[in-house]
Amino acid sequence: MNGKKIKVEPYFYLIPSFLVFGAFLFYPFFKTIYLSLYKTNKMGQAKLFVGVENYTSLLTSKSFYNSLIVTLVFVAIVVAGSMLLGLVTAVLCNKAFPGIRFFSTAFALPMAIASSSAAMIFKIMLHPSIGIINKIFHLDINWISDPRYALICVAILTAWLNSGINFLYFSAGLSNIDDTIYERASVDGASHIQQFFRLTLPGIAPIMFYTLVVDIIQAFQSFGQVKILTQGGPGESTNLIVYSIYRDAFFNYRFGSAAAQSVILFLIIMALTLIMFRVEKKGVKY
């Protein structure tokens, strides 16, 4: 070992993970960028180099802008809903009470449910004539065929699905807060509401930030529930970008355009993440 020899051994250990990453991450990533510059045939093979034409036609397409807006609304509802649901359930389960195990399991359960099976169950619950929702509230609404409600329904389902993992994160965050500071606060004269806003929220702010980032990324990528519940409809009212990509590629065989949308989606998510980390550096401190 004279230090000059380049050691090869460590690189051997890296090979398996690089193989996996390469096959499932790097290769598709660069292939997507490559495809987004071409027109393709039905098999998805690049045939004609068109430069940025796929992008320019997207940016002038009304349908694409609709997808963008629908996606943003969807992400906003999902993130707000799942964070709120996760936080409320975690705060409720932070105190010991009889039956806490049952409730904790129930609140964390959405994590373990596949989005497509949850969507199937929702579809039945939201059925206009036999669905339980209409029965309970004595309504007659065609939830998923009405453009006014379809997006909200999918978003709420997704929020619930994502709330399970948030419940887990927030519970971990809450249990990290030293109980004696609440005792001190109650002697100091703080009400429960003051304690929540002055101690609890700042205490889990770092984990909330992390959850926010993950939730946003996850919400952008929702697919299964749209596919099963609404197929992007009615009209294009639930045509999220990810679903639009799927449709362009596998129904319209426009792989080039689909790839270009993927790249744009990637850029949006990356930009949002970078902005959030920039803001976090200034704001959330511990």
């Binding site: 030293d178 004696t180 109650s186 002697v187 100091d188 009400s191 002055r198 205490g203």
Partner: protein
């Protein structure tokens, strides 16, 4: 007016695990009360019941003559300093100190003025913008105290506030606490397992064991007049020395015959002074068995009076502590300590004749361990 009154207070966990038993105490205004006892004896539990952080299982609590069992902590108008400091990690030192005023919506200028006053008093001005995690142990301690005294509460409760500090800082903070009490003139109830802290800070000390009050008295009285063997050994450092033996009466004289391990041992029979004799004379002592208690400073290398008793012992270790030397020796199979002035020639591994002044010695019952010499000052007053 009594600041705090506890009447027959119990704390019970589960079916019948009594952590605090029949606790009776009346705390007057401006007193510095110290609860002292070995860890696990229920000091914190009692303090937390006074603060309202723990439910009172049985008995009554009065704060400023008002029945307080069911008051919320914030309605009790007191402050609490926690052992772990319990600083709010997300807030600056400034906000930590200001917190109790903030939640009461005191106006900003007033808050600022008071925070700066308190910070000045505790030497925290420079660290006001810092977070608790950037502070040293001593500074955290001061922040906790600052938060507690900023409202100038009439009653201040402290649960082992100095136990996380190193020895030097502890001594320093002890002096400062005494000063703060002097300055603010509020009532303090202070919990510690350290009898030195108790002796130096308290105007009255409550000695506890297994959830039961043993004795409530001033530091001096506790030292001179312990009610039983536990108090005698707990109060005072180094601890009191104990010898098992028998009381013997021979004509006009009363002797304490130390239980010997081997028959040909050192001299082991002491003539008891008149004071002790009088206290024991009309007591029934089962089998005449008793325990003799001698404070380490009652041993001496020189004979001071002709009434002094003596023992010949083998000194096997010594410790020099500034003005005193502790000489460690074994007597009748028991480790004992003599505390003698530092100018004494104490040689290790040598035979020594130690003189004993028995005038203030204690004699304890073998079974109940109560002190026959104890004088109940309440009875004294009544008589």
């Amino acid at each position: 007016m009594a600041e705090v009154v506890l009447k027959n207070v119990y704390k019970t966990y589960g079916e019948n695990v009594n952590v605090v038993k029949d606790f009776n105490l009346e705390v007057k205004e401006k007193e510095f009360i110290v609860f002292v006892g070995p860890s696990g004896c229920g000091k914190s539990t009692t303090l937390r019941m006074i603060a309202g952080l723990e439910e009172i299982s049985d008995g009554e609590l009065y704060l400023q003559d008002e029945f307080a069992n069911f008051l919320e902590p914030k309605e009790r108008n007191l402050a609490f300093v926690f052992q772990s400091y319990a600083l709010y990690p997300t807030m600056s030192v400034y906000e930590n100190i200001a917190f109790s005023l903030r939640v009461r919506k005191v106006n900003k200028d007033e808050v600022d003025k008071r925070v700066r006053e308190v910070a000045e008093m505790l030497g925290l001005t420079a660290v006001l913008p810092n977070r608790p995690k950037d502070l040293s142990g001593g500074q955290k301690q001061r922040v906790a105290i600052g938060n507690a005294i900023i409202r100038n509460p009439k009653l201040l409760l402290m649960d082992e506030p100095l136990s996380n500090l190193d020895a030097k800082l502890r001594t320093q903070m002890r002096v400062e606490l005494a000063k703060i009490h002097e300055k603010l003139q509020n009532t303090i109830i202070y919990v510690t397992h350290d009898q030195i802290e108790a002796m130096t800070l308290g105007t009255r000390i409550v000695v506890m064991k297994d959830g039961i009050i043993q004795q409530v008295d001033s530091p001096k009285k506790l030292y001179q007049n312990p009610i039983n063997r536990f108090v005698a050994s707990f109060i005072g450092s180094p601890s009191m020395n104990f010898m098992d033996g028998r009381i013997q009466i021979n004509g006009d004289h009363m002797y304490f015959d130390v239980l010997t391990k081997s028959r040909f041992d050192e001299k082991s029979k002491f003539l008891l002074p008149n004071k002790v004799k009088r206290a024991l004379e009309d007591r029934f002592i089962r089998g005449n068995e008793a325990i003799l208690g001698i404070r380490p400073e009652k041993f001496s290398y020189k004979q001071k009076s002709e009434n002094d008793q003596y023992i010949d012992v083998w000194v096997h270790a010594r410790e020099l502590l500034g003005s005193d030397i502790y000489a460690y020796f074994e007597f009748q199979g028991k480790q004992m300590i003599a505390s003698v002035p530092a100018d004494t020639e104490v040689e290790v591994d040598s035979h020594v004749r130690l003189y004993i002044d028995l005038t203030d010695a204690c004699v304890f019952d073998k079974e109940t361990e109560e002190n026959y010499m104890y004088i109940d000052s309440r009875e004294e007053k009544r008589a």
